[in-house]
């Protein structure tokens, strides 16, 4: 408070300076005049009085100068003095300062880096109007294992009509579109949304207008809004684009608007929006049985999301009673938009934040430790200053300023470290938020860094402060600076460092073991040497099964004829690229009350062999399995379990009871379709691509190519080959199958890398602390050792006694650390796979690592203790 008052006064004075000068002039003049008058009253003639007055004051400018000195802000001046002194101290002990700044930099860097991530994900405002009132509404079908599911369109319409909590509800679903025309044909991720989506989000287009209410109805479909990125990239930022027609999925679409830069909904990679509306129907694809919509709502100003949720749940309950066939047990859940976007990332981000802060605390403990040591070394200096009249407060303030100075340099180092990690960290931002809110240097972040440095600076100041406030001058002068209190603080700090380091290392260990476990999971196929690409077919160019199959075959023929290629195959979706596309499977025989839902994949004959799925029984598909031959399927092992006995030769039917029967001709291994780490998986059923006249959704689009050498070298040749067949074909998502698999753990790998860095930092810091403690112990007991050696004690015993003490404080820290780690790990369960939070290997491993590092750190000082020469030690004082 004082500080603030002083400061405001100081600034005020700067502005008032000229007035003060004027007043000073006048005041001194008045003094001279008064003096003259005074002397004249006492009888002196005017000239003599004037001369005497001027003689008396000697130099007007010296008086003014001295008076001006009194203006200077004394507190500021003292701080400047402290700062100058602190700088001098830093320069005098460069090694100490560099080490302290490095340690600080580590701590502040670690916490700031993680905070930048937290900031990006949780604190930066979403770029929508009044984003706090936006919520996502999902269907809840926990009874089917879907706690947060897509919405059927008629349910959406009823929610919209029957709830009062919202200003409006809008619905959309993700889709991909072929953009053709000038330039290479391109596959674009986009959204089909009800026209009211844009007014609901409240973001004005950069050019053009929002969709109007009529757009999206049949006959009025072909409009589009472009993202800024797409407009720049494909249309060169053409300012006259609005009103022009572009070809999407081989249909002309009128561009009605371009959204501003940075607008992204629902994901960063959404490039265009197309209107769609849903008529109210009770059956068919827009009825209540097909769940494919995402629903977003804007709450009325005074309504909480919890109340909105209750209301939608009431509506959902009513619907489940009215339409039991489709809606039985279906509820609804509401999430605020940001929470919805962040969902699963939340717990891992908090883990990282916790680890980052722990590193910071360890760093603080370490610097505090160093400062205590130095403070002990400086007792003499402090005693001298105190004896010369410096108050204890003054000395304490000096120490705090020194601590603050170190931490300011530390935070500069730390922020630069954090800045360097942004690109890496942005991979941990959930995709829904990516792009617009990547980690960046902003006011939040700087605020955090400043806060951290001030808090740590004061913390540093406080530890030696105790020493200042309790020290005894006479002790200091007698060279007995080491008070009992301080020999107690240091082992405590080391224990603290040990405990926290164990928590960080154990968490890292658990995440790394999780990654290893996931990496060791057999996905059910062999991802090596497989290149993949997505070829979405245009329904206009290939309207019939025959035309499609002819096209697929010609692509496969061309590709397989290329040098360096082993085989190639088409499928509906590669593993992990779409967690949809399931179909009920009816097995011939007594009716199954719960027919298995299996992934349905339509594949070319070579596909399964290309990605290395093993054939367990029966045969592969062949080119003969076409519409002229009886329908066949290959099932995976999981599906085979649903059959009584050998499934080969049995018949199955997809979807409804009305479909044609297909004969099972082969059994292949299961694929972990839903993610490497998920233990329960739906099984898969494969159908030949040339045989079943099925819905468009299941048509093959992903091409897998088994190559001999390096997959990347073939990409250009492949594109040329495909475009030589059809120049309008879009080619997207070119990557290796290994990369697709790797993406399953990429989040975790980034996490683990960060955590490993944190662990390394905390191990080094703990080692440093232990080393410091031990060196100090040896140093301060040099005389005692010398004496004991002179009396016949062995080197070994002395070293052992020192090491024993150190191990005791590590041990105490380890016990606390283990307890903490166990408690914290419990909240990690959702992040782990194949390892329990209290995994004994990880926990004992972390303790072992710390003990090993501790013993290493103890070596040098212990060795130094053995080199003590009793004669010198006894003389040394």
């Amino acid at each position: 408070m004082n500080w603030i008052r002083f400061r405001s006064k100081y600034w005020l004075d700067i502005f008032r300076r000229r007035q003060l000068e004027r007043e000073l002039d006048e005041e001194i003049n008045a003094h001279i005049n008064l003096d003259i008058q005074h002397r004249m009253e006492n009888g002196a003639p005017e000239a003599a009085a004037r001369a005497a007055a001027l003689r008396e004051i000697r130099s007007v400018s010296a008086v003014k100068e001295a008076t001006r000195d009194a203006w200077s802000w004394q507190a500021l001046e003292r701080v400047m003095q402290d700062l100058r002194y602190a700088f001098r101290m830093m320069r005098r002990t460069p090694m100490f300062s560099a080490l302290a700044i490095l340690v600080m930099g580590l701590g502040i860097g670690a916490s700031t880096a993680v905070f930048s991530l937290i900031d990006a994900v949780f604190l930066k405002p979403l770029a929508f109007h009044d984003a706090d009132r936006l919520v996502m509404i999902w269907e809840e079908a926990t009874h089917q294992g879907v706690p947060r599911g897509d919405v059927a369109s008629s349910n959406y319409l009823d929610w919209k009509e029957q709830s009062e909590a919202f200003e409006d509800l809008a619905a959309y679903f993700g889709n991909a579109f072929n953009l053709t025309g000038e330039g290479e044909p391109e596959r674009l991720d986009g959204i089909q949304a009800t026209p009211n989506l844009f007014p609901l989000l409240g973001v004005q287009p950069l050019l053009g207008r929002w969709f109007n209410a009529a757009e999206g109805l049949p006959g009025n479909l072909q409009r589009t809004i472009l993202s800024y990125g797409l407009w720049q990239r494909r249309f060169g930022g053409n300012p006259n684009i609005v009103g022009q027609s572009i070809r999407i999925n081989d249909q002309p679409h009128e561009v009605v608007a371009v959204m501003p830069e940075g607008f992204q909904f629902p994901r960063g990679d959404t490039q265009l929006w197309i209107p769609i509306q849903f008529p109210r129907v009770e059956s068919g694809p827009n009825g209540r049985g097909v769940h494919f919509l995402r629903v977003i709502g804007r709450l009325k100003p005074d309504v909480t999301w919890q109340r909105a949720e209750q209301e939608v749940q009431t509506v959902a309950h009513r619907l489940s009673e009215t339409y039991p066939a489709t809606n039985k047990n279906y509820g609804a859940v509401v999430f605020p938009l940001r929470q919805d976007f962040v969902q699963d990332a939340q717990s891992s981000l908090w883990l990282l934040l916790a680890a980052g802060l722990l590193v910071l605390v360890i760093a603080c403990a370490n610097v505090a430790n160093m400062l205590v040591t130095r403070g002990i070394g400086r007792s003499h200096e402090i005693a001298v200053r105190a004896a010369l009249g410096a108050s204890r407060v003054r000395v304490a303030r000096q120490l705090i300023v020194e601590g603050l100075l170190l931490s300011i340099f530390g935070s500069i180092a730390g922020v630069s470290v954090a800045l360097g990690t942004f690109r890496f960290l942005s991979r941990l931002v959930p995709p829904a938020l990516a792009g617009a809110v990547a980690p960046s240097l902003d006011i939040h972040l700087l605020g955090f860094a400043v806060l951290v440095s001030v808090v740590t600076g004061i913390t540093f100041g406080l530890v030696p402060l105790r020493q200042v406030l309790t020290f005894d001058i006479s002790h200091a002068f007698r060279g007995r600076a080491v008070s009992v209190a301080h020999s107690r603080i240091r082992p405590l700090l080391v224990s603290l460092e040990t405990a926290l380091a164990i928590v960080v290392i154990a968490s890292t260990g658990l995440v790394i073991r999780t990654i290893l476990n996931i990496g060791n999971v057999n996905p059910g196929f062999n991802p090596d040497h497989v290149l993949t690409l997505r070829l979405e077919l245009s329904p206009v160019q290939y309207p019939t099964v025959q035309s499609r199959v002819a096209y697929y075959r010609s692509i496969l023929d061309h590709v397989e004829a290329m040098p360096g290629i082993v085989s190639a195959g088409f499928t509906t979706f590669l593993p992990y690229t779409n967690f949809g596309g399931t179909s009920g499977l009816f097995i011939e025989g007594p009716p199954d009350p719960r027919p298995p839902q299996t992934y349905r994949r339509e594949v070319s004959p070579n596909y399964l062999a290309t990605i290395g799925v093993p054939l367990l029984k029966g045969r592969w598909f062949s080119e003969q399995d076409d519409s002229n031959h009886p329908p066949v399927v290959i099932i995976s092992e999981g599906t085979a379990k649903r059959f009584d006995g050998d499934p080969i030769g049995k018949r199955v039917r997809f979807g409804t009871a009305a479909g044609p029967w297909s004969t099972v001709v082969g059994v292949v291994g299961d694929i972990r379709e839903e993610g490497l780490q998920l233990p329960s998986q739906r099984a898969t059923t494969y159908a030949p691509y040339a045989q079943t006249p099925s819905v468009w959704f299941f048509n093959p689009r992903d091409l897998a190519i088994h190559v001999r050498g390096e997959p990347a070298s073939l990409v250009d040749a492949l594109r040329r080959e495909i475009w030589s067949i059809n120049p309008k074909q879009t080619i997207s998502q070119i990557r290796t199958l290994a990369a697709i698999v790797d993406e399953q753990v990429s989040d975790r790998k980034v996490q683990a890398t960060l955590l490993s860095a944190f662990s390394l930092a905390s191990i080094s810091l703990a080692a440093l602390g232990i080393y410091g403690l031990l060196s100090f112990a040896v140093e301060s007991r040099r005389k005692e050792f010398g004496l004991r050696m002179a009396l016949g004690a062995k080197n070994r015993d002395l070293v052992a006694s020192v090491v024993r003490e150190t191990l005791a404080s590590i041990g105490a820290g380890a016990v606390v650390g283990l307890i903490l780690a166990t408690i914290i790990a419990r909240s990690l369960t959702t992040l782990l796979y194949g390892v329990t939070p209290t995994d004994s290997v990880t926990l004992t491993g972390s303790v072992m690592i710390l003990f090993a590092v501790g013993v290493l750190a103890a070596c040098v000082p212990a060795w130094r203790a053995t080199r003590i020469d009793p004669m010198i030690a006894l003389r040394h004082d």
Binding site: E27, A30, H31, E56, T67, A70, W71
Partner: protein
């Protein structure tokens, strides 16, 4: 003797920094003077001189810095007024905190004087 020393130190403005004791004394003398009402700088200097029977003469180079410092510390405030001779001058006045500070300074001073006199004339 103490006063002689003080006068000598007051004249040596170069030793200002070391003269913390002196500074406190001068402050006390100023505050003491202002206890009876507001006064301008020259008047304060004269009052101290007269009341000390010309033993203490405070130079402008010490007086004005002290006044400005006390004003900044909030122990005195100032306003511009006309003197009896129609000279516009800056008049200083004690504040409540100045009054309190004065009492503390005085008791410290009394203690010091008692201590020194005991040392000089042991009973």
């Amino acid at each position: 003797m103490v006063l002689d020393t003080l006068v000598a130190m007051a004249k040596n403005t170069k030793q200002r920094e070391k003269a913390a004791l002196l500074q406190g004394t001068l402050d006390m003398l100023i505050l003491q003077t202002l206890r009876w009402g507001s006064e301008h700088g020259h008047g304060i200097g004269q009052a101290i001189r007269v009341r000390s029977d010309d033993l203490l003469s405070i130079e402008a180079g010490s007086l004005y810095p002290a006044l400005h410092r006390l004003e900044r510390q909030g122990r005195i405030t100032a306003e511009w007024k006309l003197s009896e001779n129609n000279q516009r001058a800056k008049y200083y006045r004690l504040t409540a905190s100045g009054r309190k500070g004065l009492m503390a300074e005085e008791s410290k001073w009394d203690l010091l004087v008692t201590a020194i006199s005991r040392v000089r004339k042991p009973t």
